[in-house]
């Protein structure tokens, strides 16, 4: 990525990594990119009833240069595949991808020669979201799980931490549990424990 990746481990501490990750996940701007019916649900998520603005991501960027998150919403045809890849390549690092809906995740019910059988044939996918189409809550759940994953991402030399014995990535928790009073408390405690290590 950038300069921050080249810093020696003595300078970039775990807490700095958390601040960087927190700022990244708190304003995750998606690219305006809809391919099929899932895009309708994606638009509904941006509207007032579900309001993605609550998570700092209501601005669907019309240009991939300003986007961090690609929500592949819908079936990707073989003809569309190079376009998807180009949009992904145009996005600046760090970037994440959500495969929204079963078609983007695996081809879904379109098991034929015209549809790419899973968008992970073209771009690396961080979160698979089943559903046909997934309701806005499901999309928000996927986004919130991705937020937790971003918070766990190592920065620069800290990546070695992942090779240590006993390291396990944090488990993904369903958002309705994760954001209850108890869930938030457990999450806070896990974070403090990690920072103290």
């Amino acid at each position: 990525m950038g300069l921050e990746e080249k810093l020696p481990s003595g300078i970039v501490l775990t807490s700095v990594e958390k601040v960087v990750n927190w700022s990244r996940k708190s304003s995750l701007w998606p690219a305006t990119f809809g391919l099929a019916c899932c895009a309708i649900e994606m638009m509904a998520s941006g509207g007032p009833r579900y309001d993605l603005g609550r998570f700092g991501m209501e601005v669907f960027r019309p240009s991939p240069r300003q986007a961090d998150l690609m929500i592949v919403a819908g079936r990707v045809s073989q003809k569309m595949a190079p376009v998807v890849r180009q949009i992904y390549d145009q996005m600046p690092e760090p970037k994440w991808v959500i495969a929204m809906g079963v078609c983007a995740s695996s081809g879904g019910m379109f098991n034929n020669y015209a549809i790419v059988q899973g968008v992970d044939h073209i771009v690396p996918v961080d979160m698979y979201l089943p559903g046909c189409p997934p309701r806005p809550e499901m999309l928000m759940d996927a986004i919130l799980k991705l937020h937790d994953k971003i918070m766990d991402e190592p920065l620069g030399a800290n990546a070695k931490r992942r090779e240590l014995p006993g390291y396990a990535p944090r488990e993904l928790v369903a958002s309705s549990q994760r954001f209850t009073k108890e869930g938030k408390k457990a999450h806070r405690q896990a974070l403090v424990k990690e920072l103290m290590r």
């Binding site: 019910m109 899973g118 979160m127 559903g131 759940d141 369903a174 954001f179 209850t180």
Partner: protein, 172 residues
């Protein structure tokens, strides 16, 4: 045309501040979905814990997305998982293909396969989204016993499927 017209529009904006907010606070307050919402599947059990699934593969045949994979096997007297002859030895639903249409539910002859209202399924690996029998089976409730075990509620499978595990005189 009156002198107030240019500022009338602001009145609409101002009035909107006192309207009820339409936004649902999703992760903190989860709104209940419709009772018959098509969510994640569940494989039901008989009241004594035996599985209702008989491994007939009708759900797999009905599935338009080919998301279901079933392998049946014979029940024996030593290892009985369901009343009757057969049970599902392998049962998988690929949630990366499933479109939640509910045709499998309609096809199921024993009401073994039904759908729950659970929908938070997003995951970061394709392998974890292929749900196996252990993920799909309903939890054991009070009075249920982990199969394999012999039939507790009757002599034959008729007692289970026709009389739902109740005594013959009560059911008729």
């Amino acid at each position: 045309m009156s002198a107030l017209d240019p500022v009338k529009g602001f009145g609409v904006t101002f009035g909107a501040m006192f309207k009820k907010v339409a936004t649902e606070e999703y992760p903190e307050q989860v709104k209940a979905v419709a009772p018959r919402y098509h969510g994640r599947h569940v494989l039901n059990r008989h009241p004594d814990g035996l599985e209702k699934c008989i491994g007939c593969e009708l759900c797999a045949w009905a599935c338009p997305a080919d998301a279901i994979y079933v392998e049946g096997a014979d029940n024996t007297d030593d290892a009985r998982y369901s009343p009757g002859e057969r049970f599902a030895a392998v049962y998988q639903i690929n949630y990366l293909r499933c479109i939640f249409c509910g045709l499998c539910i309609e096809a199921c002859p024993t009401r073994s396969l039904t759908m729950t209202n659970e929908y938070e399924l997003a995951d970061d690996s394709r392998a974890d989204l292929v749900f196996t029998k252990s993920d799909l089976l309903a939890p054991l409730l009070a009075g249920m016993e982990q199969p394999p075990h012999p039939m507790r509620l009757g002599e034959t499978d008729t007692d289970y499927y026709v009389r739902a595990g109740r005594p013959a005189e009560e059911a008729s």
